[in-house]
Every structure is written in C-alpha cells, then in structure tokens.
C-alpha cells in the first residue's frame, strides 16, 4: 500500500515550514526513523523522520518551498501491507513531535498531560481521562473563512489573515480584502516603495526573523514594560567559581556564572510567584506557574533563540552546567527541537557574555519578567569606610507592570542579587 506522509504538526503553533534539504529521493529505500527532510520552521531547523519502512514513491516540493502543516511530504510504498492493516495505517494521524513519548526526558507541556512523572504522558483528548488541563484548549486554532487565492496572497504579502475583515458571503476574506488591507497597512518606517538594490541590500526574512519580529512586537504592544536595575558585588561568586572550575573541568563541564544565576532566579521566583505568572485577560485571571522553566536567550548566527531549561529549582549547579552546555551546542548546530522551546516561565538574557552592561530587555511574552545580566566589572566599592576594588555584576530586569508591582519587582531582584552575592546561602537554601 501507499502511505502519504504529511508535514506533521510539530507543536508550538507552527503552521508552515521551509524545505531546506531533502535526504531522500524517489525510489529510495527508507526505514522508520530515517530523516526524510530538513525543515526550517519559525522556531527551529529540524529533521523530520520517516514514520514507516518502505520505498519512497513520490516526493513533493522542492528545496526552498514553504509548505503548510498537513501538506504531503512524501509517499511511501509499504510492501506486503494490504486490507484492514493498510486502512489502519492510512488513517493514522501523524503524531505531533511534541506528543511522541520521548525516552530521555518528558515533562508536562501544553497539549499533553503529565500522569506519572517524567517520561510518561498521554496526548490531550485521549478518551478515558478524567480531565484535560484548560491550557490544552486555549490554543485551539480557528480557521477563518477565506478563499484559496486570498490565503496565498496573504502569505505572500506577509499579512496575518486573521486580522483581515472579509467582505464575501458570511464574512469570507476575498483577494480584494487582502489587497485593500495591504494598501491600507501603515508602513512603519519601512521601505514599501520600490527599492534601489544598488543602495539597499534586500534580505528576505527567514522564518526565525519573522517569529522574532512578531513576538517582539506583540510583547511591546501588550505588556506594560517597566525596567529596574541593580549592581551586585560578586567577589564571593567569583571565588567559588574559581575554586570549583577545575573540578568541573575534570568532569568535562564548563562552569560559568549562569547556573548560579539560574538557581538564584528559581529560588527568588518561589518567594515572588507573580514573576512566574501569566496574565490571562480573556478569562480575567492570572496563571501562577508551579514549575520553574527558565529560558536562556541565545545569540546565534541566524538570530535570537530562547531554549528553556526545565525545572531549574530541582536541579543542581552541576546539572544546570551540563544542560547549558548541551543546549548551547545544539543551538550552534541548529539542532534544537520544539521541545527545547516549550513552556518557559521566565527568561534570562546574558548579554554580559558579549560585553554589555545594562539594558532594557523585552519580555518574552506571555511571561511576566526577563532578567538581563551584564558583564562583571571591577569598580571601586566602599566597604566599612574604605574604598576597595569590587566586582560588580549589573542586572537589568523588565517586568510586566500589569501583574507585577514595582515593590514586588524590587524585592525579587534584591533577593536574587542577594543569592548571587552570597552563593553559599543560595546553595544552602536549595
């Protein structure tokens, strides 16, 4: 029988992807799990594995094509499968990557339910379950009524079709609506006139850049940003790191300051849960997260990505150092998967590693806060009336003032600063 393998829903609201490289061609034998195609989505570049053994009988789309979730990727001729079994396979829904049981680490994520700890969870909506967390239904996509040409045109022009009011029967979005939306759209400082390519480099947007642009704009337009700054004396931390560094190196680990900051934040968040929350205005409520998944903004060649370290509160400094090492390697090689981006509750941006000091970071919406960490600098400090050389780490934190008040933000930041200044207290506390 012939099995059509479609571009699976890999979660996180991904609806389209760009074909970067085909690993298979027509007539080729393929095994279950073998990579079929390298896809760039707006979050990651990832290999899509084959769900079946067989011979590739058709390949759809060329490198560079942008395709939608559920579009056909390849057809696989599966030998010796007929009748009922064939029908069963044909009706099989592609399993979203996020719902595939992963042996190594598993955590409750949107659309899945944690039932018995790590590594064991079921897809949402499975019959027989008593309840499904409400978050599962929050993200149900609604397909708006639009003509095929209107959809294609909106995609071409980078227009979010949900924003367009339809003039057709039953409010169907017609191509004329896309055209008038396009012409009416204010050009905010960008060049919409024909450009002279001798004067201007024209760079097509990558999926990652599109996502960054959209997310940043949403964050700035939605959250009421407020930023506070603090300097913290970290001589103790420097000392501790220096003492421990070699020991870690023997284990093949690079010990940076980041695991300590991660840990300090996680402990601080437990005292000030509002900073680990999400505002749900649609239902007039605040979702206070009881898990501490902290995203790390990573600067890559292609742009900003924010992989998430999960359950920071439950991990040791060594665990965190290990995971940070893995994540930065994956980010460099563009091997991060959707699961690496899910469910962050707070974000740290470490621009100090590039040499920056203070900043006004943009919240990773819908999170409530983001902490910017600057470069440690030697500065004069006054200690018991004497001027000494201190090591100061600048911290800049933006919060969503809609749910976090100034006092709370300051108290949180001072507590975190305290742990960083006195890492032993941090380690004793957690």
């Amino acid at each position: 029988m012939r099995f059509v393998f479609r571009f699976p829903d890999i979660g996180e609201g991904i609806t389209e992807g760009k074909i970067i490289e085909w690993y298979v061609k027509k007539g080729q034998q393929i095994g279950s799990g073998d990579p079929v195609v390298k896809m760039e989505t707006d979050k990651v570049v990832t290999d899509i594995p084959s769900p079946r053994d067989g011979v590739v009988s058709a390949v759809y789309g060329s490198e560079g094509d942008v395709i939608n979730v559920d579009d056909s990727l390849i057809e696989i001729e599966i030998e010796g499968v007929e009748g009922v079994e064939a029908q069963e396979i044909a009706q099989e829904k592609p399993v979203p990557a996020s719902e595939k049981p992963v042996a190594e680490k598993g955590f409750g994520v949107v659309g899945t339910i944690e039932v018995a700890g790590d590594g064991a969870f079921l897809p949402a909506g499975t019959e027989g379950l008593d309840s499904v967390p409400e978050t599962a239904s929050l993200e149900k996509p609604v397909k708006i009524l639009a003509t095929p040409v209107a959809r294609a045109m909106a995609k071409d022009l980078g227009i979010d079709i949900d924003q367009v009011k339809g003039s057709g029967p039953a409010g169907r979005v017609m191509k004329s609506d896309i055209k008038s939306f396009h012409t009416a759209r204010p050009s905010v400082g960008h060049i919409s006139e024909p450009v002279d390519d001798h004067q201007v480099n024209i760079i097509p947007l990558t999926q990652i850049r599109k996502t960054i642009a959209r997310k940043m704009a949403v964050s700035k337009q939605t959250a009421a940003h407020m930023t506070i700054m603090e300097e913290v004396e970290v001589s103790e931390l420097i000392k501790l790191r220096r003492e421990q560094k070699d020991g870690f190196e023997d284990l093949g680990l690079k010990l940076t300051y980041l695991p300590f900051i991660l840990k300090a934040v996680a402990v601080g968040l437990k005292s000030y849960p509002m900073l680990n929350s999400e505002l749900d205005l649609e239902r007039d409520r605040i979702l206070q997260k009881k898990y501490y998944h902290i995203g790390i903004a990573v600067d890559t060649e292609d742009g900003l990505v924010v992989p998430v370290i999960r359950n920071v509160d439950r991990k040791s400094i060594a665990d965190l150092a290990t995971e940070l090492g893995e994540i930065s390697a994956k980010a460099r090689e563009r091997k991060l998967t959707m699961d690496d981006f899910k469910d962050g509750t707070f974000t740290i941006t470490n621009y100090g590693s590039i040499g920056g000091t203070f900043g006004v970071p943009v919240i990773n919406y819908p999170q409530a806060a983001i902490l910017g960490v600057g470069r440690i600098m030697e500065k004069p400090v006054v200690n018991s009336g004497n001027i000494e050389i201190g090591n100061l780490m600048p911290l800049s934190m933006s919060v969503d003032h809609r749910i976090v008040d100034g006092g709370e933000a300051t108290r949180f930041l001072l507590e975190v600063a305290g742990y960083i200044a006195n890492p032993v207290s941090l380690l004793l506390k957690n």
Partner: protein
C-alpha cells in the same frame, strides 16, 4: 396605502425580486401588463429551449441505429411542429402557474395593467395611484429594428413564430447572439433551408473567439448559410439580395440585440444608450428607484436578471453590497452546447494578466464516448501567480450545466490546485474539469 416596493414587470428579474421581497417581509406589489413570467417564461428561454430539445431529439433519431436501436425507418420520421409547440406550451403553463403560486405564497400582490411612474414615490396603474417607498423597474426589452431594407410584413419575432401553424421552409434569421444562433440551428435540425445573417463582424461577440470560431464551423457543417456582416441587404417578397448572392426566404425572424422597454414616466430617469443607467447597487439616478434585468442593458441573460433582482431587494433591505456585473455564465443551447464564464483569453491578455490556457478535449473522456457526444472541449484560463481560475469555456452536450462548477470556482476564487484535488466521479463529463486543472500546472492524466 403605502407599499415598501412596487415592481414593474414580472419577468425573471421582477418575479424573483418579488418573491424575495415577500420573503424578507416587504409589502410588495408587482405590476404586469401581459403574462406573469415575462419574455423568458412565455416566449424566450423556456419555449425556445423546449422546441430546440424537440429538434435535438428529432435529429438524434438518425444516430440511434449505431446505439443498437433497430427498426427505425428514416423515411417515416418527420418533425411535428404542432406537437412540439404544444409540449412547450404545457411547460410554460406549468411554470407560470408555479410563479403565480410563489408570489401569492409570499404575500406579493399581483396587479394586471400598464404602470406609469408618476412621481418618485408614485406609480399609477390604469388611473389607480399606488404610493411606495421604492420602485423596481424590470420592464425588459424588445429586439431592435432590422438594419436592412426588408419589408416589415415579412418580419416576425420569436413570439410570432409560436403563433405560426406551420414552420417556414426557408427561414432567414437575423442576429448575432445566442437567440439567433439557437433558432438557426433549430431550423437546420428539423430540415429547413436556413440562412443566418449576422449584422456584426462575428457571431457571439462576447464569447471567446476561439470557441466562437469552432461553433461557426459546426453551424456551417450543419448546412446553415451564414452571411457575416453584409453591407447592404435588400429584400423582395421571397428573396434577400446581398452583393451578388440571392437567398430565398418565406419568413424573416428578427433575433437582433435588444433595446430597453421603458415605462411611461413623469420623472427624469437618466438613460445610457436607451437603457436605464444604474450604479453597482442597481439604483437609478433616484436612489429609491432601481432598474434590473434587460432594461439596464448590463446583461441580457435571465439568470443575471434574477440575480440582480435578489441583489436590489438586498440593497432595499439594508444589505449594502456591490453587484458584480461581469460574473455570469453565457449559455448557448446549441448542439453541442456552449457555456462560458469569467474572462476570455482576449480579455485576460488585454488586462495584461500572465495566464495559462489549459485545454482538455472530450475525445479522451469516457462518458462523452459512451454518449456519442465527443465534439467539444474545456478551455480553462488561470493566472500564473496563484493559479486562480479566471475563466472557463466549455463545448459539450451538457456545457450549460457543467459551467456551474466553473461559477463556484470563480465565486470562491479557487485555484487550479483546488480543482485538480477535487475528485470528480467517473465516468462523467465533469472529469474534464479536473484534467484541465492538472493541465494548468502539470500533466493531465488522460492526455
């Protein structure tokens, strides 16, 4: 007593508007000076297609033997005009009764008489004054005068054709559009010596040139003498003369293009070339006076007139929409039938659209072979950027029905990709749609 709406004329524009107005609760009166149903039901679409169907049946008897029907003596076969006319009349009776019933059912009053518009809110019928908020003019059209030197006593219209007890043996039809072509083919199929005089550079000027050319060949092959755009035609009592050629006739049928039948009026209605000028809401220069159907000169087809009727009632009910005058099927009930919707090749090229033209012929279609009706094809015009279907032309025995699929494609701004993904049942003639969809961006399967 004040009405919400007075409709003048009960043809396919007026009666459909009337039913709709009744449905949405407008207090409505419809005024008709002759017969409910207008030209379309009584002398146009319905009877002309009814006698054409009789003629097609008659002509197809000769083909039956190849289908395995034996025992037909061709010498015994004849066409009975009286019966064909009778059958047509019974269809008309049934349909007009149906329309009268629907108007009544929806609470629409019908008044027999000749209406005259005596004010922006006033209509008088035989001395009786009706006051109204809105007026809908749906008075239809009549053929224009023949531009040749032929005595009036030799000229009839289709309405008078139905009053003849015997069909003419040497009919001459003058006209360029569907009505003229269909009549010419009707006479040719029932064995009359037929002449078609086309007072234009080509037949069917609105039809894609490519298809019109093919139809010309079919008409000529069936024995119709066709004279294209003659400069002068003189008529004696039994001969027409143009240049050096003489054409015998016993009846000349005026199937010319049509001019508006305007109601008597005391208001200054703005006209354009004799037709009532309307905007895209079908309003005249008075916003409460609408003109729909033939009388506004936008399109001479009944289905378009009905659509305009619905649209005008929507506007009156406060649904503010613009009417798309361009998008209607052109149907020609010849053998084979011809249908077209959307842009022709020439129109697309003139608009500077980068197009694909995909064709698929009926000779490769199973159902067409089964039915012995392989003359024809589909031509599908799509633009290259998104593959949007912009126009379709079909020549096939069921083209006038098949074109409905193309209408949906256009209404939904569909692409050749949608079309080729739509499973069409086998064997059906409609498979040519799917094939032409494939042909637009890839390869058709059966070619």
């Amino acid at each position: 007593m004040e009405y919400d709406l007075i409709i003048i004329g009960s043809g396919p524009a007026g009666y459909v508007a009337g039913i709709r107005a009744g449905q949405v609760g407008l207090k409505t009166v419809i005024i008709e000076k002759e017969t409910v149903g207008g030209i379309c039901l009584n002398w146009g679409c319905i009877p002309s297609k009814a006698i054409l169907e009789s003629a097609k049946k008659y002509a197809s008897v000769a083909e039956l033997s190849s289908f395995g029907v034996d025992g037909i003596d061709q010498a015994q076969i004849s066409f009975n005009w009286q019966k064909a006319r009778q059958r047509s009349n019974s269809i008309i009776r049934r349909l007009t009764k149906g329309v009268e019933f629907l108007l009544k059912k929806n609470g629409v009053e019908t008044v027999k008489g000749t209406a005259s518009i005596t004010g922006v809110n006033a209509v008088t019928v035989d001395g009786l004054l009706y006051e109204t908020r809105n007026i809908l003019i749906a008075t239809g059209s009549l053929p224009i005068t023949i531009p040749y030197d032929i005595s009036d006593k030799n000229i009839i219209t289709i309405k008078e054709l139905f009053q003849l007890n015997q069909l003419p043996e040497y009919p001459v039809i003058i006209g360029e559009n569907a009505h003229a072509i269909e009549l010419a083919q009707f006479f040719a199929m029932v064995g009359k010596s037929t002449t078609l005089i086309v007072p234009n550079k080509r037949i069917l000027p609105d039809l894609d040139k490519y298809v019109a050319n093919d139809l010309m060949k079919i008409l000529k092959k069936s024995g119709i003498k066709i004279i294209i755009n003659p400069k002068v035609v003189n008529g004696s009592d039994d001969h027409l003369v143009t240049g050096d050629e003489k054409y015998r006739f016993d009846v000349v049928i005026n199937a010319m293009n049509r001019s508006a039948v305007l109601p008597d009026r005391d208001i200054n209605l703005e006209l354009d070339d004799g037709f009532i000028n309307v905007n895209s809401r079908l309003q005249s220069n008075f916003t409460n006076i609408y003109a729909i159907g033939d009388v506004n000169g936008q399109c001479g087809f009944a289905h378009s007139a009905s659509a305009q009727g619905l649209h005008a009632v929507n506007v009156i009910s406060g649904i503010d929409e613009e009417y798309n005058f361009k998008r209607f099927p052109i149907n020609i009930y010849t053998k084979p039938e011809i249908a077209q919707i959307g842009l022709t090749e020439a129109e697309a090229r003139q608009a500077d659209i980068d197009i694909n033209i995909s064709e698929f012929t009926l000779t490769a279609n199973g159902k067409a072979l089964i039915e012995g009706a392989t003359e024809g094809y589909i031509r599908l015009i799509s633009e290259k950027q998104y593959g949007e279907v912009l126009g379709v032309q079909i020549m096939s025995s069921d083209a006038t029905d098949l074109i409905a699929e193309a209408g949906v494609l256009l209404q939904l701004e569909s692409t050749v990709f949608d079309l080729s993904k739509t499973i069409h049942a086998h064997p059906t003639v409609s498979e040519i749609f799917m094939e032409s969809g494939f042909a637009a961006f890839d390869q058709p399967i059966h070619k």
